[in-house]
Symmetry: C2
Subunit: 307 residues, 2 copies
Amino acid sequence: MTQKTASKKSKAASRGKSRTAKRLTVIRKVKDMQQYVKDARSKRRRIALVPTMGYLHEGHLSLVREARKVATVVVVSVFVNPTQFGPNEDLDRYPRDPSGDRRKLQQEGADVMFAPDLLELYPEGFQTFVDVAEITKDFCGASRPGHFDGVTTVVAKLFNSTKPHLAVFGQKDYQQLAVISRMVTDLDMDIRIIGVPIVREADGLAMSSRNSYLSSDERKSALCLKKSLELAKEMYHEGTTDAGQIKGAVESLIQKHPFTEIDYVTLCDPLTLEDIETLGDESLLALAVRVGRTRLIDNCLIRKKSS
Amino acid sequence: MTQKTASKKSKAASRGKSRTAKRLTVIRKVKDMQQYVKDARSKRRRIALVPTMGYLHEGHLSLVREARKVATVVVVSVFVNPTQFGPNEDLDRYPRDPSGDRRKLQQEGADVMFAPDLLELYPEGFQTFVDVAEITKDFCGASRPGHFDGVTTVVAKLFNSTKPHLAVFGQKDYQQLAVISRMVTDLDMDIRIIGVPIVREADGLAMSSRNSYLSSDERKSALCLKKSLELAKEMYHEGTTDAGQIKGAVESLIQKHPFTEIDYVTLCDPLTLEDIETLGDESLLALAVRVGRTRLIDNCLIRKKSS
């Protein structure tokens, strides 16, 4: 073997190694994050942000994979944002696993884990909020006052810290996706918002960090969310277009399951989130149900079958 | 003369011409503005934004000159922003002079006049606001409810449209400057805010588009604003540090002038805008006075003389 060949082989080997063990950069300061994306943008790289509250599951990882498809730099923020939790909500017991998150992001080939601490994002004297007015009023906004102000504020901050070309959100938080799209349009943020379909467990339960709160009996009952979405689709495809009738059937299916308490069931326009009385070509069915102490959400689009 | 020399001379002439008659680009759409700054940033040019409501006077032009000192691309936005006017304020009669503004900006060597129309910035369905909570409560915030929400919202939009490295504001609107600085810090906007000292008419009246509303007698009375600032400085430098005493003297000087009605007189901390009882090394005296129907503002820092 000539020296040249050996050198080529070793280069190839190290390339291979660097592909499987791509280094994940962990950044904790806003200024460092801004410097990182400034350098990346000067190299004409395309930046995608995946905002998360950590405790990453397959749902989050599907967002990271989507981001990798459309961008050359994938930044995943991991921050449990206190301003989107109400005073009696689960901020303190919200599950956290920073080292697991880091390992998963490393495996998925994310470039940056942006994990600022509380005082980095909310220092003393902080007093500015972004407020989307109309489409935050109902559904999760009604059940969780102030929740969406916290979401839009932190997302605006994360956008300014990471300056992404694109940002990827799950369709599971459908109202959140609509609210953020509205904010981006209204404030002229030059960012493309991508929604990724819900990822489910084998039995149909939508993945959520909060599923970890469920007892084994509650876990069984929680399947009623997905079942009720299926029932609604079935009714529509069999000819029912009356929203009240479908809503009634969904609610009674859920109520038959133990430990459940309905927060809301809504049939609405997928863009404006305004209630509808009659289902047209495309409608959104969204629901929030307490199962024991745990509040779960799920949704689906109900569409005409393509012929 | 050889052909070469002639060609050199003509190039020099056209360079000279292009220097004095630098072309001002007028942009009316957010997307076009974003494309312009994207190109400028890719050439590593440094962008400064000067937000204005038009009807430009020497005060505005001093901001444009400051911007030219610190940036290679100067964008001046001209937009009379309805969301910062209250229902009984002067939106309809606010003075406008788009062709004069264009000529002045051309003369000052600004690169872009960004002049979107109303529906470009506030299309149907618009519903997102940026709200700075604490330092907007008093002074102009108290007299003009909702005013600062309108200011921060439109400035956030202008920032996202023009993506400046720096933005230049007048110190005449001192509370506005403090509120915008707070928004930039709180939302992690990567923009340096520069405040430029007040520009005054020969007789001391702070320049303002609203001065054009004043009758000739009101115009004379309006000089009491600047006189009262001078009186306060004089009292401080002669040893008075009691805020109440200085405020009392300022108010009684203003009240002696016809057509005047005090909106507020405040002595406060220049950063937090919190009221002070005793003047320290640096304090802000800010005031708003109605002269006839016209509301005028003025302010000054009261500082220890440097030894």
